[in-house]
Symmetry: C2
């Protein structure tokens, strides 16, 4: 038997939101199979199932055990995968649904935010050889004890990419409710254009708004294991956005200087004053935050005065309280939180060969009289923190200033 | 460590119908634990969850694969068990929920109607040793391939009894929405009284209406493995009905002649005319029905005329069509179906030592001018098939005639 190309298709919650939508997903899966592919479909829970389950738990306790939450919410994907399998079968095509555990997805022990350690693909391979479409419940796995774990929000993307990697799939298609990745948020700037292809690094940098399209962790996984991604709409047949190796992308198109403009209004600025200015202080501060699993983004250390340092950084809004509580355990310091901030970023692998991109960004913002409070850069991204009220203006100025509209 | 007595508590769908009810279940479980018991709780799905899931599948196909149905509906019990575990934890008591598979319940391969082959209790024992209340999702197990199977409707009772047996539990409490087993249906006869204790055989015979209280298969399992049952209400603390070994029951109370009057309106009478009157014909007929998994109840073979036999029997209403189709494959016969029938039975281990019980039953019915269409007997039961329209009258006459009211 010639081994078929395997492809992995992933459908999010809105794509399987009701029975009619599930029927469309089934048709798409069958179409791919009829083209001679081995088809593995990863599904999220239907629409707001997960939220309803979380709400049920919320009526019981404000601090449910993570193990029991995983036991609870993992049923959402089990339901949608069983329904999809039935739908495929009803259309005359053999199909089987598998929970994360049945699909061989072994994770670590961190309930609610588990990481995939290993995938035993024997069962999936066996079912594919039997000419079946295999539907896998996304977002979940089991740990070494056989207990159900979930991969955290957006974890279905990670399931799909990890399966694509383990199965050596030709590519992984992420079906979503948008046509692909845009040069910026079309809700903010109507001139936003769809990007044909992106490198993994660009996708990672764009993911601050791109998280709605594909989860950051999934892109990291795809990059590490070189899984080609195709982000596209589940409601039409239009070609979406390909995310692939930088080199392969270079072969296909001339590189523009800037690929996209992104923003994030979900962070707060934390300023810590009165830190002793000696080695190890920053390590202690961020060590305490890391211990509480608080991700820190932009960090700026101010010039030291009277031997005391001030450090500012941003954290996710939902981590604000925990961050404040954690930092306040350090003696003799003051903490200030600023919720009125937004982060605007320009992203593009092309900026590496175009000097002066940062200067251009700063002057485009200055022209609009927008004050920059913090700056951070990566080789392919420049981010500025501005007042939240100015974020739309900033995005428009950058999108147009860098010529992304044409 | 002294090994504690283990008890198994089973709560049906109405007992875990909403968060408030789940809280009451949690309190009951904790109360039992505080009395020094090792507590295992088996739960059904919340209220009409299972029906909602079946409805979802019904919107997709009229003939869903049984494997996928089990994958789908098993989520109902997983949800309720996770919610109960959270509730127990919220009340400050350690608890863990387990799916059927995690609880070690291994079944055969017959999806939707699987039988328990074996229970590996290691995991439950480990959790009990850690002083946890263990919540097990009822109604489900896994087969040798790790695929989810369900035990059929009422299967949570079987889960509870099977666990009680495997764990050598002291007894198994079946919590339901009635106070126990009654001498007849209180909705039919307001003078019905609660029975203090029953033998397994009596419970089995009563189960034609008793199915609402406990599933037949669970009683059979309890009898085979001598698991003492306590059927009681989840809404009060009143002592319910004990079901136990005949001998033990005899020690406790003087045996009444008749324990209860039951009825069943869910059957149809099938009459087959024109069968050749030779050995093997009945075996062929009922063999065909057994092959289709159709359970046959009362059987009456009429006197043979012109070397042709007629056989009447009853089957469950839902099997009527399949039965007709199956029988019609036999050549040269006629089939008649009669839906207008009901079965009335009197049950009591005491009747073995009281001759004339059958005669009394027939005359009580005759007094009311109720015609008897079919009769069947077991050592502790006599059943008569009557017109459906006369069933209430028949029950009242028997309940009062055998002195069950006092």
């Amino acid at each position: 038997m010639v081994r078929k190309d395997i492809i992995v298709l992933k459908f999010g919650g809105t794509s399987v939101g009701d029975i009619d939508k599930i029927k469309r997903v089934a048709e798409r899966a069958i179409k791919s199979k009829n083209k001679g592919k081995g088809v593995v479909v990863v599904v999220s829970a239907m629409g707001d199932t997960t939220d309803s389950l979380i709400e049920l738990a919320g009526a019981i306790t404000q601090k449910p055990s993570r193990r029991e939450m995983d036991m609870l919410v993992s049923t959402g994907e089990q339901i949608s995968s069983a329904l999809l399998a039935m739908t495929v079968q009803e259309k005359g095509c053999e199909c089987v649904s598998l929970t994360g555990g049945q699909a061989g997805i072994l994770t670590d022990r961190f309930y609610s935010n588990a990481k995939i350690l290993n995938i035993k693909v024997d069962r999936i391979i066996k079912e594919l050889k039997n000419d079946k479409i295999v539907v896998v419940a996304g977002f979940q796995g089991i740990n070494i004890n056989g207990d159900i774990t979930t991969l955290g929000r957006g974890g279905s993307d990670t399931t799909a990419v990890a399966l694509a990697s383990a199965l050596k799939a030709k590519y992984c298609e992420i079906y979503t409710d948008v046509d692909g990745v845009y040069s910026t948020d079309p809700n903010m700037v109507k001139e936003a254009i769809k990007i044909e292809s992106l490198s993994y690094d660009e996708m990672l940098e764009l993911a601050s708004y791109g998280a709605k399209v594909i989860h950051l962790r999934a892109v990291e996984f795809a990059k590490k294991h070189n899984v080609k991604l195709h982000i596209r709409s589940s409601f039409n047949d239009i070609e979406g956005t390909w995310v692939m190796d930088d080199f392969e992308k270079d072969m296909r198109m001339e590189r523009p200087m800037i690929t996209g403009v992104t923003y994030d209004v979900g962070e707060v600025k934390v300023s810590v004053f009165g830190l002793e200015d000696r080695p190890g202080i920053a390590a202690d501060l961020f060590g305490r935050l890391a211990e509480k699993n608080i991700n820190v983004d932009l960090i700026v250390q101010n010039v030291s005065e009277k031997n005391l340092a001030a450090i500012s950084f941003t954290v996710k809004s939902e981590d604000m309280e925990l961050a404040e509580k954690t930092i306040n355990k350090i003696e003799n310091i003051n903490v200030e939180m600023d919720k009125d901030i937004a982060k605007v970023s320009i992203v593009g692998a092309g900026m590496q060969s175009h000097p002066g991109v940062a200067a251009k960004m700063f002057s485009l913002l200055a022209e609009k009289d927008i004050n920059i409070e913090m700056i951070s850069t990566s080789p392919i991204r420049i981010s500025c923190v501005v007042k939240k009220s100015r974020v739309k203006e900033a995005i428009k100025a950058l999108h147009s200033g860098f010529g992304l509209e044409k």
